[in-house]
Structures are given as structure tokens and as C-alpha cells.
């Protein structure tokens, strides 16, 4: 499959990286479902399910971190609103 986009993970800014991580998670889910079927073992779809749920938590944690940083210290982030 077209996972050539893994290269997107080298994107320029912090948010791009979060975006890439999220996208990567989605792609891993798709990939796993496809491979599970190529192997002919559909009971492994549990894995893909787990990824779909867990990846979300990771992204939300990142956002919470950003929010905290934005509200707490203004020194590090040079471009405050």
C-alpha cells in the first residue's frame, strides 16, 4: 500500500509532527487490517481496533501538553497570541 508517506513525518514544524503522528496512526490501522486479511487471520483485527482507540489518547495528550505550555509559560514559545 501507499505508505510511502511515512516521509511526511519529517515535516517542518511541531504541529506538523503531531499531524504526521496522527496520520501515521490511521495508516497503521489500515495497514494492519489489510495485512490481517492477507494472512487470512481475521481475528487479529483486535489489534487494529486497539490502535484506533489508543492513538487518539496519544494525540489528546500532546494537545493537553501544548495547552498547558501555552497557558503556563510564555517564555519558551516565542510567538504568543
Amino acid at each position: 500500500m501507499a505508505l510511502a508517506l511515512g516521509r511526511a513525518l519529517l515535516g517542518p514544524s511541531v504541529y506538523d509532527r503531531v499531524l504526521a503522528a496522527n496520520m501515521f496512526g490511521t495508516k497503521t490501522v489500515l495497514l494492519l487490517s489489510v495485512i490481517a486479511f492477507l494472512y487470512g487471520r481475521p481475528d487479529f483485527l483486535d489489534l487494529a481496533l486497539a490502535y484506533a482507540l489508543i492513538n487518539f489518547i496519544g494525540v489528546l495528550a500532546v494537545l493537553e501538553f501544548i495547552r498547558r505550555r501555552a497557558s503556563n509559560d510564555t517564555a519558551i514559545n516565542g510567538i504568543d497570541p
Binding site: L3, G6, L9, L10, V14, R17, V18, A20, A21, F24, G25, T28, L31, L32, I35, L38, D43, F44, D46, L47, L49, A50, Y51, L53, I54, N55, F56, I57, G58, L60, A61, V62, L63, E64, F65, R67, R68, R69, N72, I76
Partner: protein, 329 residues
């Protein structure tokens, strides 16, 4: 075709790892670690290790990221460049790499069924599992029954780590100035003002918990078991804490209860072993738990996995709360 795919994934992994080490920005490094872990899990899946892939997914992509971010929030996220002895380190690393690669030439080729690893105990496990334990997932059988001692040890390592973190943070910080001993000074209100994530997140939490229970009790038949389930359940509560704020999550599942969970899980494991002894078997021999040895094995594995799951949930959540409740100073 699958092998080529694996090679592709591995190459991406090397690139990601290089990027992780090179970046000066620790926050970026942590996000890349998440991606690295996803790649790793996909690789495990390709290598037929479904259980391991599930564990890596539950731990690596979610909880590990959360913990590292929690630590970063407390310590600052920038790395200073230092050119101290980089050349020396590089040369050491290069020499060691060459030695290790030289050593690989003696290794059996990838996927070789005649490799020495596959000759010794593994066929025995594969053969005996249906008759002695009679559950389909050999990994669970080996984990909980054949090698129960190992797993007991692992659970106690996890237990000790959890207790260690609690000890580290239990000590009151003595600061020259500043108010002493305020634990949760900033009432983290979480992502409350993000409406959409909050609604969707609340919708998802019950499903994640349900899925965790499914993984826990389906571990005999498919990929799953106590370690994975513990991580998934912990992830669900972490999501709750992220959405509703630290204090609310602690109200739902207070720290005292968590400590109880840690100890209770480890104790349950030990108790099952002792119960086997009292009933006339060996330590961690489940065959005596019921009249029929195979039923006994089933009961034993179920209880053991429950103990593992409880302990892992307790430890991961305690660590999370310990990090998140700490204030940056």
C-alpha cells in the same frame, strides 16, 4: 512481498530513530518516539507476534507518550547542545556496530525453521499446550502457566517500579522559598474548553473500558491478556483525566484505591500460587485448583491474568497521577 514490506518498515524505523537522536527539541523527540513505536508494533505484527504487537500498541503509542510528556512538562523541553566528547562516543558506537554486524554473519537466516532457537523447548510448548492446558493461545499458556514463575517475577518488578515512583514523589519537596507541600496547586481543568474532543472522548471511554475487559478475558483465545488489558484500562482512565482534569479523575479512582490495586493484583497472583501449594500441588501449579486438571489450569490462568491486569492498571495510573499532579517549579 511481506518480507519486502518488513524491510521497508525497518528502514523507516532506522530513519525515525536517527531523527529522534538528532533533534534538539525533546517534545519533537517524544512525538517521534510515538511514531517509532507504531512502526515497531507493525513490525511485530509482520513477524507473527500478535500479542506483542498488541502490548506495544497499548503501551508505546499511548501510555509511554503520555508519561514522557508528563515528565517534559515538569522538566523543560530543550536540550542544550554540547560538543563535549561526541567524537569519542561516535567512534565507540561505530566500532561496536561493526562488531555486532560482524557477529550477525554467524546467525541463522531470517525465518529459518532449523535455527537452534526452534529446537529446544518451543516445540514442546506447542505440542503440549492443547493436551495439558487446552487453550488456543499458546503465548498465554506459556506466559501464565508453563512459565508462571517468570511472570510472577515480572509482575513484582512492575510492582516495585510503581512503589518506587510513589516513594520518589511521596517525599515532601523541601524548598527554600515557596509554599511547602502543596500537591495539586494548579487545578488542571483538562481539555474542558475543547468541546468536540470532550464529547467524543466521553463517548469513547466506555468502549475503551469494554475493549479492555474483552482483551483481558479473551486472552485465552486470541491475542490479549492481563498486561495488555491493564494498559488499555489505564489508558481509558488517563483519557478521562485528560478530558476532565486531574482532580476529577482522582475523585473517581482515588490514590488509596490505586495503591490497593497495585498490591492487590500482585497479592492475587501470589495467592493463587499459594493456593496451589495448600491444595497439595507445587507453587503456581493450577492443576489442583479444580477436580479436573484442565479446568484447574483454566481457573488458574484466569485468576493470574486478572491479577496481572489489576497490578498493571494500578501501577500505570499511579505513575501517571504522580507525574500529572506534580507542579512545575
Amino acid at each position: 512481498m511481506i518480507v519486502l514490506f518488513g524491510v521497508f518498515l525497518l528502514t523507516l524505523m532506522v530513519i525515525t530513530a536517527l531523527a529522534i537522536v538528532r533533534t534538539q527539541h525533546l517534545f519533537v523527540a517524544v512525538i517521534l518516539t510515538g511514531i517509532f513505536s507504531l512502526l515497531m508494533a507493525a513490525n511485530f505484527f509482520l513477524l507473527d507476534a500478535a500479542d506483542v504487537a498488541l502490548t506495544e500498541a497499548a503501551i508505546g503509542a499511548g501510555i509511554s507518550t503520555v508519561l514522557f510528556l508528563g515528565a517534559l512538562a515538569l522538566t523543560g523541553e530543550h536540550e542544550r547542545v554540547s560538543s563535549s566528547n561526541r567524537l569519542l562516543a561516535l567512534s565507540v558506537v561505530a566500532v561496536t556496530t561493526l562488531i555486532v554486524i560482524y557477529a550477525t554473519f554467524d546467525k541463522p537466516h531470517f525465518g529459518d525453521p532449523l535455527a537452534p532457537v526452534h529446537q529446544h523447548v518451543a516445540p514442546w510448548y506447542l505440542e503440549r499446550t492443547p493436551e495439558v492446558i487446552d487453550i488456543p493461545n499458546v503465548v498465554t499458556a506459556v506466559l501464565a502457566s508453563f512459565r508462571g514463575y517468570d511472570t510472577l517475577g515480572e509482575v513484582f518488578v512492575v510492582f516495585t517500579a510503581g512503589i518506587g515512583v510513589l516513594f520518589l514523589f511521596g517525599a515532601r519537596p523541601r524548598r527554600k522559598s515557596g509554599s511547602p507541600g502543596i500537591k495539586v496547586a494548579e487545578p488542571g481543568q483538562g481539555l474542558r474548553h475543547y468541546l468536540i474532543p470532550r464529547v467524543v472522548g466521553r463517548l469513547l471511554i466506555p468502549f475503551i473500558l469494554l475493549f479492555g475487559l474483552y482483551v483481558q478475558f479473551h486472552g485465552d483465545y486470541g491475542p490479549g491478556g492481563g498486561f495488555q488489558a491493564g494498559a488499555i484500562v489505564a489508558a481509558a482512565f488517563i483519557l478521562y483525566a485528560l478530558l476532565e482534569g486531574e482532580a476529577q479523575a482522582l475523585r473517581v479512582l482515588p490514590q488509596r484505591l490505586l495503591t490497593g490495586l497495585i498490591a492487590g493484583g500482585a497479592l492475587l497472583y501470589g495467592a493463587v500460587g499459594v493456593a496451589g501449594m495448600l491444595l497439595g500441588g507445587n507453587f503456581l501449579d493450577y492443576s489442583v485448583l479444580a477436580a479436573d486438571p484442565i479446568t484447574g489450569q483454566h481457573i488458574g490462568i484466569l485468576l493470574i491474568e486478572a491479577g496481572v491486569g489489576i497490578a498493571v492498571t494500578g501501577v500505570l495510573l499511579s505513575v501517571f497521577h504522580a507525574f500529572a499532579g506534580r507542579r512545575r517549579r
